[in-house]
Subunit: 783 residues, 2 copies
């Protein structure tokens, strides 16, 4: 790998200048001739039947072009095939305050707003269902009347001999935790611009997943996908919050069709808080058995998720809360019971770390408690249970490259954790945790037999290279990564590579930017396409110039024999030679992960072709008088496989730490009487740059055999260990436990008074007997 | 061919709705944030040395961001490698009134205009050179001082034994003709929007040839082509007038780089008249020898072109005036002498029919005169000399399919020509002529060894097809044709096909929309790409479903065995099967014409893989009192090979007739004291819809073996015979000859007085002895 010239170098993103100079155009920057502005009327009630809905006065207002209600878009949709439970506009009843009920297209936003006020809605209130406990209570109001209970999805799975494991344990411990909901807060508010030309819909929109949106539009509008073009302009942050097809997208499309005019809907910041699809509130119980030496003998996890009113990706969120605990620790027997309840709140969905920060918080705090009880060093306890590289977990996950131990070593060393733990002055403390995350899901949501990512490459006569990919650059730098990888393979500079992305007409399939899948999957597809282009060009050059093919490489803008730097021809000459004998210089590559899913229902959630690993140490300074927790410094080591651009990797690490600290200490997506408590950037507590501590980013490379140039995930995984590390640090500082996130000052004060803050019990729910699943054949029980 | 379902059907263009509803966005409709407006200062002198050029006051005007002069863009360019004689802004001297001298970028157009007035230019006048005669006169001022004469290019070629042919002739006749210049008058004025992001130039512009513009930008700006993206938005008519890289494009690009802001230049209608690049004024002498039976024994053509101040495509224009006479008549011996002179007028270039309407006018009028002298019916004279299908001409042109005889039959029959000729009342008459035109040039301007057209096709998972082609839809319907051809091959509807065109980043090479090359060349590339896609899909389907591959077809949105309409699978299913086993559904096709150029210098101009043929009859009503010529009706038969969409073919025929009538009767791109006589749509006489006679379009199909589904040229050829048919009709009506186009009323009156109007002699020019070229081996002398 010493020959790499682009991969591994620090350089700005390809769109950096456009972003920082304001030249990049986001969806809301777009204007179309004759464009109408549309607005959504949102329910003022938390849970209510719509008794009367009269839009006639709104429609009569001069400047109003169309008004839609649920009856105009009657087809249910949802991103997962299992959760087609949502409508673009409420049908018959509303299930959360803020749910769209009607849509108005008018000459301008002001007229649309005035028209909204003229829509007459008569509601008949129904009881609100605002928590897991309320949802599961006997006699609870039904959020979805056609369902017998408020349970959206439930699962119970058992891998290996759990009861035997507990019986064999010298020590068993059980803890209960709660994580409140929080939301993504992307800087760009969602916006969409729909245009209909009489036979084809073109939609510019701030989505992370153009392909899934196209599918939802296909279903709801009953149009073939060949008549639907989804384009993503510059996008200002997603974090999972722009993965769902949204009401404003479906209604803007329908309004464009109905009016024959371009229609834009740009959500306000307040609306973004209701659009949500963020972190689920999760109530958890973790119970583990340990041998005297600290080796885990069995583990049991029960997770109850507060899903909000609709399915979204929630079935997956629920399964994720159980899937990845085994990726850091070699757990020989594992039972998971999960449940997602419907409540009358905005639906929850995927947020950075999808489904896994909550159980990771529980697990890593639980392990610290176990270590304390066993009298073991918390680091040592973890070391004794570490997962091995190139192994299988009991729940059928394939671990490949894994430098978790190195991450632990590096972060412990850099932070001086062992010297500090238990030895800092009262109020100061250090905490530790580890985690792992996926490099894309092993199973796509649709069409398992097809590649998840395809990339197309064209070289033009002047030597310019165009890379086509449907992956969406949501700020994470995926356009840059595709340019780096292609440039590396072709021996060019990234500036010679134009990346065309996220346009369903122009670009071949990519499932979108979620689950940290783009670098790994679209990246692998790009490498394959580029390698095919390289083979094509070098083959032609070798033939034409009579050079030995096995010695030719593309490097520094030349096709040459590296043993003779004067040999060969410049790239532009090489591609002309190739075009003359090979025809059009167009290649494509694709990536389909190996089929990794275990033999059980729900096995599609969790497997990934490669996992990243991370370890974090957090140092805090807590004020015992006020309860305020100040994070002084964070050390993170992350096994990224290979850092394609260390600058971007560090950016992702710092961004994850930032988001983790917000979740750990400040953010709470909370409601009172169904209404969000602080739906604005003034009220919702998210950290500012001034709140950020120093972050020491340690990039660890394990060179994954299947990753593009060895690369794995980096965008999400680092968030996971930071939250429990904060909680563990607070315990080290004050000797008390806050088992409920966020760890706000009031909770710290209460904990100082009573020793612990956190939930005490889980509501009863009669989980069915867990489905017993044999560990995979490749799995080896601990010796 | 009975199985065709898209090809041959009448249907609107794919962009018809967008165009007629005003939804289509042209370059001047585009706005970019922080966009500046730029204007060009144009020379007020016809021919002058620039003694002083002071832009300091202009630059000091508030709101002005940059001022450029020739020194800022010192690299010469030109579209043909032989004619790199132009600069974006005049260097040292100006060579025509209207030549750009300086460029200003300002906050808005008004400020830019005010700044132009502040640019101080001191000129030292030089003698104007306003005609061929003046250019060639002894002691004429030199338009380009570094050249010994004002001759831009000259050629003298002789094919076969011309002197022998004349000696063997029973009859020899010589005529002299003149065609005045005229211009394209596209409805859309040229506009360009340049954006520079610090490392890459993106230019939206109204060009017919993005690839050539990219090359000029590469040269003048010294940027690699990978950093130059040229995109053509909707374009409102080209007709050859948007084939050159223009000053406003090069200066807008430079201004964008200098200011770091988007820069738009939109020409005014007056500026478009000076941008020009239209029809050359041509002075011609044609001399032929005939046997008693009317068979041509030899022909000699001398053409003197008034080129204006710069080369443009003029070297090709000059050669075209000699090349295609042999494509309609089997001329056994042929001599051509051509010359293009520089004059101090806006440069001439390609206009619909490039280089050939002038000699065709001369030839077809000359033949009528010969027929009269020989006492032969003019149709019969032509019939006796017709070129044969699948033959070679004496000047090395390969004729393939040719239904010229059928065109003559059909148009003579439909018009009742024989019954009318010489028999209508005085003042009324009919005229006849034939012609032929190319389906793209056999030789590209650059890089002979590479394909002229490549097309890339992608199929997405929902069945939508994307066709990528750099061909520019200039209103001729090339996007539509590519959609029809692809849909036909894949058994789909054109609406299932998205065509992405004319974007140098997104689309593979196509040399552009000129020489009637797109349907034939890009069309063939699209068919090849689609056939490869079909093979890929059907191969996978046959394999998966166990069906015999040789019986599978794609038709009506299914892959099926046509013998069993219930067999097979829908297209969407078929492509999913294919993607699962074959990977990304991406194919490419290309077209490179066979190497047809003869073994002599200049042989690249004229050869085409296929020629269209046409015959026209025009009926006129002339007022002997006023001289006014009114065209009553036009009958045209055109051999298009195959009408891919008869509606578009008829549109092209009618458009060509319209343009031909304007040139024949009204248009004159004339100057007085260097200044255009009528640079506006009010003053420049172009026909309106009210001036249009009835046009009978007869589409003749000869199924060319190399054309896509048999198709050949249709966009230009029909213009050619109409002009001489008008002149011949005027002669039939009034018995006098106007050998000078346009045939304006004053000329008709003068002809009625003196029997003929037209030039009497050619200026002396010492052509070198013609290069003697042997006819091609495949050529057969007349029996």
């Amino acid at each position: 790998m010493s020959e790499l010239s682009v991969v591994g170098t620090r350089r700005p993103k390809v769109d950096a200048v456009a972003k920082v100079t304001g030249r990049a155009r986001y969806t809301d920057d777009l204007r179309a001739p004759r464009m109408l502005a549309a607005k959504l009327l949102r329910s003022s009630r938390t849970h209510a039947r719509i008794v009367r809905l009269d839009v006639s006065h709104a429609l009569a207002l001069p400047g109003v072009h169309a008004v839609l209600t649920g009856a105009d878009l009657p087809i249910a949709y949802g991103i997962l095939p299992v959760s087609q439970d949502e409508h673009a506009l409420a049908l018959e009843k509303v299930r959360y305050a803020g749910e769209p009920v009607a849509a108005v297209a008018a000459d301008d936003e002001e007229t649309a707003e005035r028209a909204l006020a003229l829509v007459e809605v008569e509601y008949e209130d129904l009881p609100a269902v605002m928590s897991i406990e309320q949802a599961l209570a006997v006699g609870a109001a039904a959020v979805h009347e056609e369902r017998p209970t408020n349970v959206h999805r439930a699962a119970a799975l058992e891998f290996g001999d759990v009861d035997g494991g507990f019986e064999a344990a010298d020590h068993v411990r059980e803890d209960i935790f709660f994580v409140h909901g929080n939301t993504h807060v992307p800087l760009e508010e969602h916006a969409t611009l729909a245009e209909w030309d009489g036979s084809k819909l073109t939609m510019h929109t701030s989505t992370q997943v153009p392909h899934y949106l196209q599918r939802a539009l296909e279903r709801v509008l009953e149009l073939p996908t060949s008549r639907i073009r989804v384009i993503v302009p510059a996008l200002g942050g997603g974090f999972g919050g722009k993965c769902d097809p949204f009401s404003h997208e479906l209604t803007a499309a329908k309004l464009a069709i109905v009016t024959g005019r371009p229609v834009k809907i740009a959500l306000t910041r307040e609306e973004v808080f209701y659009a949500h699809r963020g972190r689920h509130p999760v109530l958890m119980r973790v119970r583990s058995g340990f041998a005297r030496d600290g080796r885990i003998t069995a583990m049991e996890f029960r997770c109850l998720l507060d899903g909000g009113a609709y399915g979204s990706y929630g079935a997956a969120s629920m399964l994720y809360t159980g899937a990845l605990q085994t990726t850091t620790y070699a757990i020989p027997a594992y039972r998971f019971e999960g449940l997602r309840a419907y409540t009358t709140k905005p639906p929850c969905g995927p947020k950075r770390g999808h489904g896994t920060p909550q159980p990771r918080f529980a697990l890593e705090c639980h392990l610290d408690k176990v270590a304390e009880e066993l009298g073991l060093d918390p680091i040592e306890l973890r070391r004794r249970n570490l997962v091995e590289p190139f192994s299988w977990t009991v729940n059928h996950l394939r671990i490949t490259s894994c430098a978790l131990e190195e991450c632990i070593d590096r972060v412990v060393e850099a932070s001086g954790f062992e010297e500090k733990r238990g030895r800092l002055p009262h109020g100061r403390g250090v905490g530790f945790a580890v985690s792992a995350y996926m490099s894309g899901a092993g199973l796509p949501i649709y069409a398992n037999e097809l590649p998840q990512s395809e990339v197309q490459i064209k070289v033009d006569r002047g030597g310019g290279v165009t890379v086509y990919s449907m992956a969406t650059d949501i700020g994470q730098g995926s356009d840059s990564v595709l340019a780096y990888l292609t440039a590396e393979v072709l021996g060019l500079e990234p500036a010679d590579v134009a990346v065309v992305s996220a346009d369903t007409d122009l670009t071949p399939i990519d499932l979108g930017s979620y689950s940290s899948r783009v670098t790994f999957m679209a990246g692998n597809a790009a490498v394959e396409a580029a390698e095919r282009m390289r083979a094509l060009v070098l083959g032609a050059v070798a033939e034409q110039l009579g050079l030995p093919l096995d010695r030719l490489v593309l490097r520094g803008g030349r096709a040459l024999d590296p043993g003779d730097p004067e040999s060969g021809v410049p790239w532009v000459e090489a591609i002309r030679i190739a075009a003359a004998s090979r025809g059009p210089l167009v290649t494509a590559g694709s990536y389909r992960p190996p089929d990794l899913a275990g033999p059980y229902k729900g096995a599609g959630v969790g497997p990934s072709p490669a996992y990243s690993f991370s370890a974090a140490v957090v140092e805090v300074d807590c004020d015992p008088e006020t309860g305020e927790v100040r994070v002084e410094k964070v050390w993170v080591a992350h096994d990224v496989g290979r850092a394609l651009n260390p600058l971007l990797v560090e950016g992702q690490i710092e961004g994850s730490v930032y988001m983790a600290l917000g979740e750990a200490l400040l953010e709470n997506h909370a409601f009172r009487d169904g209404v969000h408590l602080g739906p604005s950037l003034l009220d919702y507590k998210t950290p500012t740059a001034l709140d950020m501590p120093e972050v020491v980013s340690i990039v660890v490379e394990s060179d994954d055999p299947e990753g593009p140039f060895g690369a794995k995930e980096v965008g999400q995984g680092v968030l996971l260990p930071v939250i429990p590390a904060v909680a563990n640090a607070v315990h080290d500082a004050l000797g008390v436990r806050v088992d409920e996130v966020p760890i706000t000052a009031d909770k710290v004060i209460r904990a100082l008074r009573q020793g612990r803050v956190g939930p005490k019990r889980l509501p009863d729910f009669p989980f069915r007997d867990a489905v017993r699943v044999d560990p995979p054949a490749q799995w080896r029980a601990a010796p």
